[in-house]
Amino acid sequence: MNILVVLRRRLMFLVLVIFGVSLITFTISHMIPGDPARLLAGDRASDELVAQMRENLGLDQPLYVQYGRYIAGLVQGDLGTSIRTGRPVLEDIVAYFPATLELVIVALIFSILVGVPLGVASAVWRNGIIDQLARTFAAIGISTPAFWLGLLLLVAFYGRLGWFPGSGRLDAGIAPPPTITGMYVFDSLVTGQFKTMINAIWHLVLPALCLGFVHVGVIARQIRSAMLDQLSEDYVRTARASGLSKARVILIHALPNAAIPSVTVLGLAFGDLLYGAVLTETIFAWPGMGAYVVNSIQALDFPAVMGFTVIVSMAYVLVNLAVDLAYIALDPRIKEVG
């Protein structure tokens, strides 16, 4: 299986996913009782006005026509116009998505930095105190409602201690860096605005901690299991019998091999993090997709919901593509095995 095969399969799959996802979302969102035109026109609007708006929005057309139009637009990169904000959905998503992406990436990095050592320690000293504590910690992490933890963090580190900012991506006086990716830390680093970067990182601490906490457990569990697999492999025994130090065997031999199967878990974790971001964003006033999509659903803003779904699904598929490619890059065996 070489890279071209993977690329071809994934790209075909991407098309399939976009079609499938848009169809599912379209069908379900149009099953929701409620009239977006009515919502937009306001409580007191007359029926004539509502009917007129429905016509303006194309909502009076049969569903298959609406869907056809949507797909036709999609092919040309047009995700439609948000009913709620009146702006092109793509524009809204471009405005909101980088913030979410930045948060998710930092949270992922945080959970890897904590989760991997935890998982390794847990596997190496299996059933020992460290293992028990790590597993308990993982269970607590997975069981903690994100918004609950978020509020606790907010009250403690912002409200009482004042160590970290409680909301937003930058302090009031600091201007965002020029938009390259829309991710402030990256953009300010590239443009050399280090003060902005530090401020942005500082704003990321609490939300990323909150969001990443759950995944520390998920990743620690995965790494523990993968490490146990590797540590029971014969090559580990060979390495030990060759007089290599325990640390070397664990870190240089077993860990990279354990990381390979764990990469797929990161792909799935990415999806979960996007989900988890919604509540976290609300609490830390993080201007990402979370609040946007929840509001869109409640406002029955179909184009916005579908645009979000299509984009997130694409991101999901692309991340998993990246994961597959990473897999190929990391594991020399893949190239050979049919």
Binding site: Y235, A239, H253, P256, N257, R333
Partner: protein, 343 residues
């Protein structure tokens, strides 16, 4: 047939040796704690291997031969076992008391080990060259280039034709025989005095097995290393070892020069094992199988561990463990029954 519990029995290893043995296991008893008890994996095992010797350890599954090998290198998981008595000295080091640093020093340089499965014995995501230089440099203070040159030399000594190319390959890209040759090369990387080979060819085809064993034997002779060859195949023992230890249920039951043990077995178990081979009877005739199964090693077995399956077992066999006795040909065996009784 009569029993001969006599005082003139001497310990098997009593004879003075010309050199100090590279490996000396004396009266080693080892157990694995299990629920409400212990699995007595080794009982009073005494094995000695001298410089340059190829010694076979033979027995069926569960006899303790692999545990012995692993214990020799202190590779059993530390928390999982307990040595209840005995001594284990490898190249003059007390392995039971060795520190992690000492062990690291001994393993891979003075003593090396070869395992059964060549496919899984090498880290699949690292190149052969990386694996070899890593082990070389773990024991010698030399540069990367030098280590690589040494690795190529080692591979060539294992008759690997395009050694330079193989250095850049991954283990899964090579055939089973090739892999096992690399494993052997790796074992000889730092001029060991002893190589412990645990069923090195069980997973290989017979044609490949012959190559691998021959290479192992030749290489050991060239560098003057002793080999502890663990196997269940009496044919392998016959063709490749100088001396042999036959193990059964965690005990050494018979030992001596290979030729005499295999042609003139003294212990009923060795005898039965030889007789069970399909070559031993005419095609189509019933084979001489050993009735019964291995005793449960969790239980205390007061007498001879083979007594329940032994055609000659007597009262004493079931109550008192037989001591090692030596016969004239340098063959020792642990049995209460006189050898002529079995002839």
């Amino acid at each position: 047939m009569k029993l001969q519990p006599s005082a003139q029995n001497r310990p098997a290893t009593a004879g003075p040796m010309s050199t100090t043995p590279v490996l000396s296991i004396r009266g080693l008893s080892l157990e694995f704690p299990v629920w409400q008890g212990a699995l007595h994996a080794l009982e009073d095992v005494t094995i000695e291997i001298n410089a340059g010797e190829i010694v076979g350890i033979v027995g069926e599954s569960g006899c303790g031969k692999s545990v012995t090998a692993m214990a020799t290198m202190r590779l059993l998981p530390e928390a999982a076992y307990k040595v209840t008595s005995g001594a284990l000295s490898l190249l003059g080091h007390d392995m039971l008391a060795a520190t992690e640093t000492e062990l690291r020093h001994i393993r891979g340089s003075g003593a090396a080990m070869i395992f059964q499965e060549p496919l899984t014995a090498l880290n699949p995501t690292r190149r052969i060259g990386t694996l070899m230089t890593e082990v070389i440099r773990a024991h010698r203070k030399i540069g990367k280039k030098e280590a690589q040159a040494h690795a190529v030399k080692l591979l060539k000594s294992m008759r690997i034709a395009d050694a330079e190319a193989v250095m850049n390959r991954y283990s899964f890209e090579l055939s089973g025989g090739m892999r096992q040759r690399i494993v052997i090369a790796l074992a000889f990387a730092n001029d060991p005095k002893i190589v412990i080979a645990d069923e090195p060819t069980t997973a290989l085809d017979v044609t490949v097995q012959r190559q691998v064993l021959t290479l192992l034997q030749n290489r050991a002779r060239d560098v003057g290393a002793a080999v502890m060859l663990i196997t269940h195949d009496l044919g392998v023992v016959s063709e490749y070892t100088d001396r042999v230890y036959v193990m059964y249920a965690g005990k050494v039951v018979e030992t001596g020069p290979t030729a005499s043990v295999l042609t003139k077995p003294c212990h009923p178990y060795t005898h039965a094992l030889l007789a069970a081979g399909p070559d031993q009877v005419a095609p189509g005739e019933a084979l001489a199988s050993i009735p019964g199964t291995l005793p449960d090693l969790r239980e205390d077995i007061p007498g001879c561990r083979f007594a329940d399956r032994c055609a000659y077992a007597q009262g004493l066999c079931r109550t008192t463990p037989p001591p090692m006795r030596q016969d004239a040909g340098g063959q020792s065996y642990a049995c209460w029954i006189e050898e002529e009784a079995q002839a």
